[in-house]
Amino acid sequence: MSSAFTFFPFPHRMEADVPMGTDFGEAVWKGKMKMSECIIAMKSVTYAEKAKRAARSAGIGGQIVSLDPSVTARGCAYGISLPCREVRSLLSLLDQKKIPYGEVLGDDYYKLSDNNYK
């Protein structure tokens, strides 16, 4: 059974409502922030599950996470957490499979997990 994480406020929000096909990645790759885990906000928990399955079948890692209310405009949302280096691949896959997504959220967060590390 996979663990899920609750994230605390993100200091870096990248873009709002990324349209399908947008090449978002330049800000991330220019090293303006730490590179570890990124989150792709999904439109619903159903689409988050759909995205997770699509990612796994393509060999891309990712876990469903609950987004902190401070980073959501409408409260209570879910996203896919994955290594930032895989975000571009997953977005391409989501576009291909017509799975809608929202913001791409960056790093520098505090994470509580079984390992209890920041």
Binding site: S2, F5, R74, Y78
Partner: protein, 383 residues
């Protein structure tokens, strides 16, 4: 009453269920019964995974997409969503002469309130597909917005030609809602290929799940915004919005889903796919045809429909259905008597004055059990 019961009421609910279904329900309750989509802890996530897996399995079996599989509590629930969610004031609706009250009553209620008008299209066992389509076409009006077809009758198992009706509806830009309560798991249904707007299914009949889960499976031609919400409440997402989400399925799934029942439905779907719909249908049809052939020519019986499809309805000369049903039950044979929540259907087949005794089969029944029924019916006649 005999200790070993013979269960012939599978049109009401199938019994027994495959062991995998029981195990799935038990596993959910004991292992991961969190509230799906309402948290990110392991139990909620596991529940969400099972919910999605069931959507995916149902979408695969019925020709739709996972996000277009809406979980309800029953087929009746799903039909109410379809009728009340898609119809607008001034619309005209056509329903089948073989309709169950789950179709008839919500349509009647809206008509009584002056919101819509409706007509009943005829359907009899001898009708060809062309006859049925012609009968529908004859009743169409400019304001006809929906046809609600009964894929398989719950009193005779007669079927309606969904693909042909779907083609007509597509040509006329009319929504097609299908009551698949009896056909789900017995007959192939392709929501996309048959131009179905909404397919309404129970989880606890031909899909061998438990009571408490049903599905409203949507076709490509209906958007989330096209649905007026019938029930509003918590959706697990976008909690700051005052309105229900604009996305499927969450828009139509307010409140906590019946996760244990959906876990059971997933196991039922897996079992149905493993056995195969053709085999499931042929097994039940063989039993009903056997029974029908044994009593159809006997003057002591009045038999309704053709008996092919898993359901046989009949009456015994000189006895009310209730008397027959009680005597059979006293000898361990479970049937259902009366109107079966389908007065329109009874009127269509000619049993409106009395109702009937209904025998309905599943994959768990056998020829031996049918022979026991025939033996008991002989004793019932002699009493």
């Amino acid at each position: 009453m005999k200790e070993k019961l013979i269960y012939f009421d599978n049109a009401a609910t199938t019994f027994p269920k495959p062991p995998s279904v029981s195990a799935a329900v038990k596993g959910c309750i004991e292992g991961y019964g969190g509230n799906p989509g309402r948290g990110a802890h392991p139990l909620a996530e596991r529940a969400s995974e099972v919910i999605y897996a069931c959507r995916e399995s149902a979408a695969d079996l019925f020709g739709s997409a996972p996000e277009r599989v809406i979980f309800t509590y029953s087929a009746t629930h799903a039909l109410n969503f379809a009728v009340k969610g898609l119809l607008r004031r001034g619309d005209h609706v056509l329903i089948s002469g073989m309709s169950h009250n789950a179709v008839y009553r919500p349509v009647y209620a809206m008509a009584e309130r002056g919101e819509i008008t409706f007509d009943v299209y005829p359907h009899s066992p001898d009708d060809t597909a062309e006859d049925t389509v012609r009968g529908i076409e004859h009743l169409l009006k400019p304001e006809t917005a929906m046809v609600i077809a009964t894929h398989m009758s719950n009193i005779t198992s007669e079927t309606e030609p969904i693909a042909e009706i779907g083609a007509l509806c597509r040509r006329r830009n009319i929504k097609l809602v299908v009551d698949g309560a009896q056909s789900g798991g017995h007959l192939p249904i392709d929501v996309t290929g048959m131009n179905v707007t909404a397919l309404c299914l129970p989880g606890h009949k031909g899909l061998y799940g438990i009571q408490g889960a049903g599905m409203l499976i949507l076709g490509e031609d209906v958007s989330a915004e096209a649905f007026t919400t019938v029930i509003e409440g918590g959706s697990g997402i976008h909690s700051l919005d005052s309105a229900m989400p604009h996305l499927l399925p969450e828009r139509l799934e307010a409140g906590t889903p019946g996760t244990p029942a959906i876990a059971g439905l997933l196991a039922g779907l897996d079992w149905v796919k493993q056995v195969g719909i053709p085999e499931l249908h042929e097994h039940s049809a063989a039993l009903s045809s056997y029974l029908w052939n044994c009593i159809a020519d006997d003057p002591f019986y009045t038999v309704y429909g053709s008996g092919y499809g898993g359901v046989v309805s009949f009456n015994v000369k000189g006895l009310s259905p209730a008397e027959v049903g009680k005597q059979l039950a006293d000898h361990g044979i479970c049937t259902r008597v009366g109107y079966h929540c389908a007065p329109l259907a009874h009127r269509s087949v000619g049993s409106y004055e009395t109702g009937s005794v209904r025998v309905s089969f599943s994959h768990m029944n056998s020829i031996r059990e049918v022979n026991t029924l025939l033996h008991e019916l002989t004793r019932v006649r002699k009493r």
